[in-house]
């Protein structure tokens, strides 16, 4: 089994466990990037959802997302997920894309008022595109960093962080396809000729 397959299974397992557990104050919420694994062609867009499960009295959050800039490029701006807004009006900060180092920094959101929200949902949606000029397929991990969740007393909420993988495949140029076809034809002919000599 390949590495990305193990990661997929682990994420699914954690997600299943969290989903099966009741949302209690003692449970540790999970913040994950979804989908946990995806493959796109270079140049294709990709939206990654920042999901939370098991949130209790969530009032505000902040995170960074790191990625391989040779595989992905953040196209921003990030958009607010619907989860926090179930508690009322919010103030969302989309974060700043840095495609040089591969990061979306400082995505944050906060409710107004005094109460937080509980449950599962999407915190934010991050927009990427597979780097089009990659010379070869490339897989990148997307990881959460500087994650900070606050409850309505503005106390930190401990959370489990789960990242994601994205594979960006290269897409052959037409000339490349012609060369490839020619090569294959030549090889087939060489194979047939050889058999006759035996």
């Amino acid at each position: 089994m390949k590495l990305h397959s193990y990661r997929f299974l682990l994420a699914a397992l954690v997600a299943t466990c969290v989903a099966a557990s009741p949302s209690t104050a003692s449970a540790t919420p999970v913040v994950s990037l979804q989908p946990v694994s995806s493959t796109i062609a270079a140049g294709d867009p990709l939206t990654i959802a920042v999901q939370i499960t098991g949130a209790v009295d969530l009032f505000a959050f902040q995170f960074d997302v790191l990625f391989d800039p040779l595989a992905l490029s953040a196209t921003g701006p990030s958009t607010e997920g619907p989860f926090l807004a179930t508690g009322g009006s919010t103030f969302f900060i989309p974060g700043v894309e840095d495609n040089t180092t591969g990061a979306i920094l400082g995505t944050a959101n906060s409710l107004f008022g005094l109460s937080g929200v509980s449950g599962n949902g999407t915190l934010a949606l991050l927009n990427f595109v597979g780097v089009p000029n990659a010379s070869r397929s490339r897989t990148t991990a997307l990881t959460l960093a500087n994650l900070l969740l606050l409850d309505s007393n503005l106390a930190p909420i401990a959370a489990t962080e789960l990242g994601a993988n994205v594979t960006v495949n290269t897409v052959p140029e037409p000339a490349t396809l012609l060369l490839l076809g020619s090569g294959l034809t030549f090889a087939w002919r060489r194979r047939g000729r050889g058999s006759r000599a035996l």
Binding site: F59, A60, G88, S110, F112, L148, L154
Partner: protein, 766 residues
């Protein structure tokens, strides 16, 4: 020789000396008349003295003043003696004293010109009836009651003074009509004194002409209240025979008795009385109905409607005539006289000064009455009178005018002599007021004006006595400003003034200012008061409409005083509208708004402002640079301590920026405070330095938590500052320290959430 023998011889010598003293030979020791005249077989008789060219009762003959004379028998032998006269409207008995209903609405002009000047035309008084309207009356119709002796007679008659009791116009057995201080009463007194000096006509009860062969004509007048006013009235005529007067609690201007800067005031304890009801009170002559026209004229002329000064009042201002005085003056007055208030002696005294009239003044701590002639100082007072009269009536050169001019009572047994009055060194000292923005109490001091023009309002309630209002810790019906605690006595001497910038919600109101002593035990003592009508803000003789909402500077004086605030007390100024005991009582509800910073109190402090500063605990300097950081667990405040005399710092918090409550009282030199608990909503903070004695400093700058742009309000722009700096660390380009609400060195979601918590739920910011 035995002791008994020596005593016998001494007594014998004394008896011989008295026996051998020639009749009428006055004796003086140390400039004081000695009691050498027999008081047995006094000659007592009545005389009716004609007042030339005066027929107030319109009976076709000149008015006559009844006098009663008591003199030593020796005056029948050719000895002539000077006269001590008391003239009174009361000796004929007092009638009921009617009172006005002092409740109801205050006057408001019905029509005004472009400047607001009242266009009301005063009503015309009824005409004076023609001479001969009434049948002739000479005042001699029996019975002729004997008038009581003066309180001074038993002391001074043996010392060679004839005592005369005179009855005022229209009172007792005099004829004519009272005029309540009019020139007629002055001329009547002049006529009596002239008759003592051989001028004019007098008759006995049988109508026989009589002369004053028994007197030198040298006259002094002494009396209390109205009786103390008539000496001033007599002196105002310049009558030559009047050598000395002793006005005790006398009126120097009738306007000051019944009005104050346009306000109709009460003469306590006779609340609700006025000049015309006083007329009713003293009109004890027979056939009083002949004087009805005079009463009606007084009612019209005194103008109880507007309270304005007019020609009628001007005629009754004797201070204008002090230049005519031939009499030396010895004033006695109670500093706490609520009837004939201290302004009377003050204005007379100032006029005497201006005209260089020989003078002295005795000020006692009592109320209305002849207080010097009792108690611990009585003997000294009588000596003072004796020296005064011996010089001016007998011509003894006893240097009465030398030495201290003023004696001021400090307690029941303590009097202090001063070279002059107000006490030398008394300097008008301006006390600026510091608003507090509530109905508690603000501060006042001689330092710079407070920078914030915080307006303070109060509502009139004439049902509440001023003693209650000045004592209350909180009241919506007055404003109070207190000085620092005094660590040494502060002496004030002279006139007290206020300038109050007031706006009025209604077009009429009374303005009252009260000087108060706040005692260490929490009680309060009213020292003196003053009243003004804002409609008379430009002139006491003209009414101008008050436009609601427009601030006016109302300047007026309180009653003058000579008072020493003891150590351990504070000087206070109370500002209110109605002063129940002294002013009219309109329905409650008039609202007044004071700009305290544009207002001030002026006290005649002996030694001036420096003396006050030296005697008082200084107000600490206000803290500055108040800054706040907020965290999930509370607000942390820091400030700069600029004071070196504070006992404590007081942290105040408010949810509206106007009404602050004290959150914490901290030790001196503290410069930080943490207000624990989750922070939400609008919070203002400010800090004061306080001193138990000196009071509170002005407030520091006010901090509104979350007001990052300093706009004075919490708004989306403040959130935008957080967003613009989000994720930045201190030292990093783009870091804005304002956005780092919790001071962590980085702008993060905690700052964001702190900010959103401060804004109300439902706020929409993009």
């Amino acid at each position: 020789m035995t002791r008994q023998g020596r005593t016998f011889i001494t007594a014998g010598i004394l008896i011989a000396l008295i026996w051998q003293a020639p009749a009428g030979a006055q004796q003086f020791i140390n400039g004081l008349a000695q009691p050498v005249f027999s008081t047995t077989n006094l000659v007592t008789h009545n005389v009716w003295i004609e007042v030339p060219n005066l027929d107030t009762d319109r009976d076709g003959i000149n008015d006559r003043i009844r006098i009663q004379v008591r003199r030593p028998a020796v005056t029948e032998t050719g000895v002539r003696l000077p006269i001590v006269m008391t003239a009174s409207p009361y000796s004929g008995g007092q009638l009921p004293f009617p009172t006005y209903d002092i409740t109801g609405q205050l006057y408001e002009p019905a029509s005004v010109d472009a400047n607001g000047l009242d266009l009301r035309v005063p009503p015309t008084p009824p005409p004076t009836p023609p001479a001969g309207t009434n049948p002739p009356y000479t005042g001699t119709t029996p019975p002729i009651p004997v008038l009581p002796a003066s309180a001074y007679q038993s002391y001074f008659l043996p010392r060679g003074f004839v005592f005369v009791e005179a009855q005022n116009l229209g009172t007792g057995m005099s004829t004519g009509c009272p005029t309540i201080g009019g020139v007629e009463e002055s001329l009547a007194m002049k006529a009596v004194i002239d008759w003592f000096n051989g001028i004019g006509n007098g008759w006995d009860a049988n109508g026989n002409p009589v002369t004053a062969y028994w007197t030198t004509g040298a006259t002094t007048m002494i009396g209390t209240s109205y009786d103390g006013t008539l000496p001033i009235a007599a002196a105002s005529t310049g009558v030559a025979g009047l050598k000395a007067i002793v006005p005790v609690a006398g009126v120097s201007s009738y306007y000051d008795h019944r009005r104050s800067y346009g306000v109709v005031i009460n003469s306590n304890p006779t609340v609700g009385t006025d000049a015309d009801t006083l007329f009713d009170n003293i009109l004890s002559r027979r056939f009083p109905e002949v004087c009805k026209y005079m009463r009606d004229q007084i009612t019209t002329n005194m103008d109880r409607t507007t309270g304005d000064w007019n020609a009628w009042w001007e005629e009754r201002d004797y201070t204008r005539y002090v230049g005519n005085f031939h009499a030396a003056v010895l004033i006695s007055h109670g500093l706490n006289d609520l009837n004939v208030k201290p302004r009377h002696f003050f204005r007379l005294w100032e006029a005497l000064k201006a005209n260089d009239v020989p003078r002295k003044i005795w000020l006692n701590t009592g109320g209305h009455g002849d207080n010097a002639n009792s108690g611990s100082r009585q003997a000294a007072w009588r000596d003072e009178l004796n020296r005064f009269w011996s010089q001016y009536l007998f011509g003894v050169d006893n240097n009465w005018t030398g030495g201290p001019r003023a004696a001021v009572q400090r307690s029941s047994t303590v009097w202090t002599d001063y070279d002059d009055w107000p006490v030398p060194g008394a300097t008008p000292t301006t006390f600026n007021l510091v608003p507090m923005g509530s109905n508690g109490s603000g501060q006042m001091g001689v330092d710079d004006r407070h920078p914030d023009h915080l307006l303070e309002s109060f509502t009139d309630n004439s049902a509440i006595d001023a003693t209650v209002l000045v004592q209350a810790a909180q009241s919506p019906n007055r404003l109070i400003y207190k000085s620092n605690l005094l660590t040494a006595p502060v002496h004030i001497s002279g006139m007290i003034g206020v300038k109050l910038r007031l706006a009025f919600a209604q077009p009429s109101a009374t303005v009252s200012a009260i000087l108060v002593q706040y005692n260490a035990n929490g009680t309060s003592t009213i020292i003196c008061r003053g009243w003004a009508d804002p409609q008379n803000r430009y002139s006491i003789s003209q009414t101008y409409a008050v436009t609601p909402g427009v601030p006016y500077d109302i300047e007026f004086t309180l009653q003058p005083h000579d008072y020493i605030f003891p150590a351990g007390t504070r000087i206070g100024l109370a500002v209110m509208s109605s002063d129940r005991l002294f002013t009219l009582r309109p329905p409650a509800g008039r609202q007044l708004t004071l700009d305290a910073v544009s207002s001030s109190l002026t006290l005649p402090v002996v030694g001036g402002g420096a003396a006050f500063v030296a005697a008082s605990v200084p107000v600490p300097n206000a803290p500055s640079g108040l800054a706040a950081s907020v965290s999930p667990t509370g607000v942390a405040l820091t400030w700069t301590d600029n004071a070196d005399s504070e006992n404590a710092f007081e942290v105040e918090r408010s949810s509206d920026g106007a009404t602050f409550t004290t959150l914490a009282t901290l030790a001196a030199n503290t410069t930080t405070y943490a207000d624990p608990g989750a922070v939400s909503g609008t919070r203002f903070y400010r800090v004061r330095a306080s001193n138990t004695g000196g009071g509170d400093s002005a407030a520091s700058n006010t901090v509104l938590i979350g007001d990052l742009d300093g706009s004075g309000a919490l708004e989306c722009a403040d959130l935008a500052i957080v967003r613009a700096s989000f994720g930045k660390r201190a030292g990093q380009s783009g870091f804005d320290p304002r956005a780092d609400l919790n001071g962590s060195g980085v702008v993060d979601v905690t700052d964001l959430a702190l900010m959103t918590r401060l804004l109300p739920a439902g706020t929409q910011c993009r």
